[in-house]
C-alpha cells in the first residue's frame, strides 16, 4: 500500500492524547454502568492509535475499527458522548489517503447502524438519535473533505514536478539547438577559409616550382589574410552564441559588407565572379543578413570545390516585400582537389539556416548544367 501521508506530526499525536483525556472525564463521578466498559475500551484504543508509529498500518486500522465499534455501543448509554469516539475513528479512516475509501465508508455506516441497534433495546428520544446519527454523518463528510484536500495537494505537487521536468528538457533542447548553430557556423567558416588556403598553397607550390619567388610573397600574404579572416569569422560565430541578442547594427549594410568581402576573397583565389544588385535595399530582421551571407559563403565555397574555373553569377534582388539571393555556377566535369574534402554538410547547413528564419525559402538544384542556389527572405511588413 502506498503511504501518501507517511508522517504524523507530534502535535497531532499530542492533540489526540489530550482529546482522549478530556473525553475520559465523562467517566468521572458517575455511577458504574454497562456502557462504561466499551467506552473505556474505546479510550484505550484511541490512546494506542495516537502513540503507535505510522508503520503499524494494519494494527492502527484494527484499533480504529475497535474505537468506532466501542463508541457506537457506548453512545446511547453515555447520552451521546460516545459519538466523539466514532467521529475520531471515522475521521482518521476516511481522511487518510493510505486507506481505501470503502474502509471509512464501511466504518461510518456500520457505526450509524450499531447506534440504532442499541436504541432497539434502550429507549431513546428520536431527536437525540437523529442528532447522533447526523454527527457521525458530519464526521464522514469532514473526513472525505480532508481526503479530497490531500488528493488535491498531491496532484499539485505532481504538477509542479512535471513543470520542473519540462523546463529542464526545454533548456536542454535550447542548448542542443545552440550547439548545432555554432557547429554549422564553424563548419562554414572553416570550409571557406581552409578551402581557400588549400588553393593558395597549391598556387605557392606551383610558383616555387616555376622559380617565381617574387610572386610567392603576394600569395603567402593573401593566404595569411584569408587565415586571419577565417579566424575572425570563427570568433564571431562563437561570440554570437555567447551573446544571442540580435545586434542592432545588423541589416543591409552588414549584408553589403559581407558580400563585398566574400566576392573579394573569391577573386583573390582566382575565381571568376559576376555580381549584380538590383532594387532598393531595405532593412533586414535579426539573423537574416548573416543567414544570407552564410548562404553566399557556402555557395562560393562549393563553387570553388566543384567548378574552380567556371564563372559564378551572384544576383541580389531587393523587392519591396523581400530580398532574393541567387548564386549559379556551372557544373564542371573536372573535380578540384578540395572537392574531396567536404563532409557533405554544406547544403543541409544552408537549408537549416534558412529554415530557422520565420519567412525564408531556400532551394538548391541543378538546372541546365548549372548549379543554382536561391534564398529568399520575405519581410513581415
Amino acid at each position: 500500500m502506498n503511504h501518501v501521508d507517511a508522517s504524523r506530526p507530534p502535535l497531532t499525536r499530542a492533540l489526540n492524547l489530550i482529546g482522549a483525556i478530556v473525553t475520559a472525564s465523562a467517566l468521572v463521578a458517575r455511577p458504574p454502568a454497562p456502557w462504561m466498559i466499551p467506552f473505556a475500551l474505546g479510550l484505550l484504543a484511541w490512546v494506542a492509535v495516537s502513540v503507535l508509529p505510522v508503520s503499524a498500518h494494519r494494527l492502527t486500522a484494527i484499533l480504529l475499527f475497535v474505537l468506532a465499534a466501542a463508541g457506537s455501543l457506548s453512545t446511547i448509554g453515555s447520552n451521546g458522548i460516545g459519538v466523539v469516539l466514532i467521529a475520531v475513528a471515522v475521521l482518521q479512516l476516511t481522511g487518510s489517503l493510505a486507506r481505501a475509501r470503502w474502509q471509512g465508508l464501511m466504518v461510518g455506516v456500520g457505526s450509524i447502524g450499531l447506534v440504532a441497534v442499541s436504541v432497539l433495546f434502550i429507549p431513546f428520544p428520536p431527536l437525540g438519535l437523529l442528532s447522533i446519527e447526523f454527527g457521525v454523518l458530519v464526521a464522514m463528510l469532514g473526513g472525505f473533505n480532508r481526503r479530497q484536500q490531500r488528493v488535491a495537494e498531491a496532484q499539485s505537487r505532481t504538477l509542479l514536478e512535471e513543470r520542473v521536468t519540462i523546463r529542464e528538457e526545454q533548456a536542454r533542447a535550447e542548448l542542443l539547438a545552440a550547439r548545432q548553430t555554432v557547429s554549422r557556423d564553424i563548419h562554414d567558416v572553416l570550409a571557406h577559409s581552409l578551402g581557400g588556403l588549400v588553393i593558395q598553397l597549391d598556387a605557392v607550390e606551383a610558383l616555387l616550382e616555376a622559380g617565381r619567388t617574387a610572386d610567392v610573397a603576394t600569395r603567402v600574404h593573401d593566404a595569411r589574410q584569408l587565415a586571419v579572416d577565417g579566424l575572425n569569422e570563427a570568433r564571431r560565430a562563437v561570440g554570437a552564441l555567447r551573446d544571442d541578442r540580435p545586434s542592432a547594427s545588423e541589416g543591409r549594410d552588414d549584408l553589403a559588407a559581407a558580400v563585398d568581402d566574400l566576392v573579394r576573397t573569391h577573386r583573390s583565389l582566382g575565381g571568376v565572379i559576376d555580381v549584380s544588385e538590383s532594387g532598393d535595399p531595405h532593412p533586414l530582421g535579426p539573423g537574416e543578413a548573416s543567414a544570407l551571407a552564410r548562404v553566399l559563403q557556402e555557395a562560393l565555397t562549393n563553387a570553388r570545390k566543384h567548378a574552380p574555373a567556371g564563372e559564378v553569377r551572384v544576383a541580389l534582388t531587393w523587392r519591396p516585400s523581400d530580398v532574393c539571393l541567387e548564386v549559379a555556377n556551372p557544373i564542371s566535369p573536372h573535380r578540384s582537389l578540395v572537392a574531396a574534402t567536404g563532409g557533405g554538410r554544406g547544403l543541409p547547413g544552408m537549408a537549416e539556416r534558412m529554415a530557422a528564419l520565420p519567412n525564408a525559402t531556400f532551394t538548391a538544384a541543378e538546372h541546365d548544367a548549372r548549379f543554382e542556389v536561391s534564398a529568399t527572405v520575405t519581410s513581415d511588413a
Binding site: R101, W102, V109, G110, I112, G113, V115, A116, V117, V119, L120, P123, F124, P125, P126, G128, L129, L130, E133
Partner: protein, 167 residues
C-alpha cells in the same frame, strides 16, 4: 389482513421477482441509468413516509428500526455489487452506452432473499414491541432504494477501475 398489507405483500413479491430475475441474467452496466430507479424509489419512499407518518408519533424505536434496516440494506447491496461478475460487452468502439455487462448469480439471489427474510423478521419483532413503521410502504421502498444505491455505487467504482485498466 388489511388492504395496506395486501398492497405491501404485492409490492414485495413483484419487486423481489423482477429484481431477482434480472440479477440472474447478464445485463449491460450503464451506471448513469442504474442510479435512476433507486433515486426515484427513494424519493417516493420519503414522500410516502412524510405524508403517512406524523413526526410527533415517531418514537426512538421507530427511527432506530428505520436506520438499522437501511444500513443492513446498504451493506447487502454493496456485497451484491462486490460479488457481481463483469464481462466486456461486444460493441462498436464509437457506440455510446455500456461497456460491460454483469450478473450477480445465485449468491446474489440468496442475499436478496436474505435481505427480505431479515426485513420481515425485524418487522415482526418491531410489531411485537409496539413499532409499526416497518410495515409502511414508504419504508419498504426506502430500504429497496438503499440496496440498489449501494450496489450501484460499488458498480460505479468497479467500472471506473476497469476503465482505467483497459485504457
Amino acid at each position: 389482513m388489511t388492504l395496506q398489507s395486501i398492497a405491501n405483500i404485492l409490492i414485495i413479491v413483484v419487486l423481489v421477482g423482477v429484481l431477482g430475475f434480472r440479477q440472474m441474467k447478464w445485463r449491460p452496466v450503464d451506471v448513469a441509468k442504474m442510479w435512476r430507479m433507486p433515486i426515484i424509489m427513494g424519493v417516493i419512499g420519503l414522500v410516502t413516509i412524510s405524508t403517512q407518518t406524523k413526526s410527533s408519533s415517531l418514537t426512538g424505536l421507530d427511527l432506530a428500526i428505520l436506520v438499522v434496516e437501511i444500513v443492513l440494506s446498504l451493506a447487502i447491496g454493496s456485497v451484491m455489487g462486490a460479488i457481481a461478475h463483469f464481462r466486456p460487452l461486444a460493441r462498436a468502439a464509437d457506440q455510446e452506452g455500456a461497456e460491460f455487462e454483469s450478473r450477480t448469480g445465485w449468491l446474489g439471489m440468496g442475499l436478496w432473499v436474505g435481505l427480505i427474510v431479515i426485513r420481515v423478521g425485524i418487522d415482526l419483532w418491531a410489531g411485537s414491541n409496539g413499532s409499526a413503521i416497518g410495515t409502511s410502504t414508504g419504508v419498504i421502498l426506502l430500504v429497496l432504494a438503499a440496496n440498489r444505491i449501494a450496489r450501484t455505487a460499488v458498480f460505479a467504482s468497479r467500472v471506473a477501475k476497469l476503465d482505467s485498466i483497459s485504457v
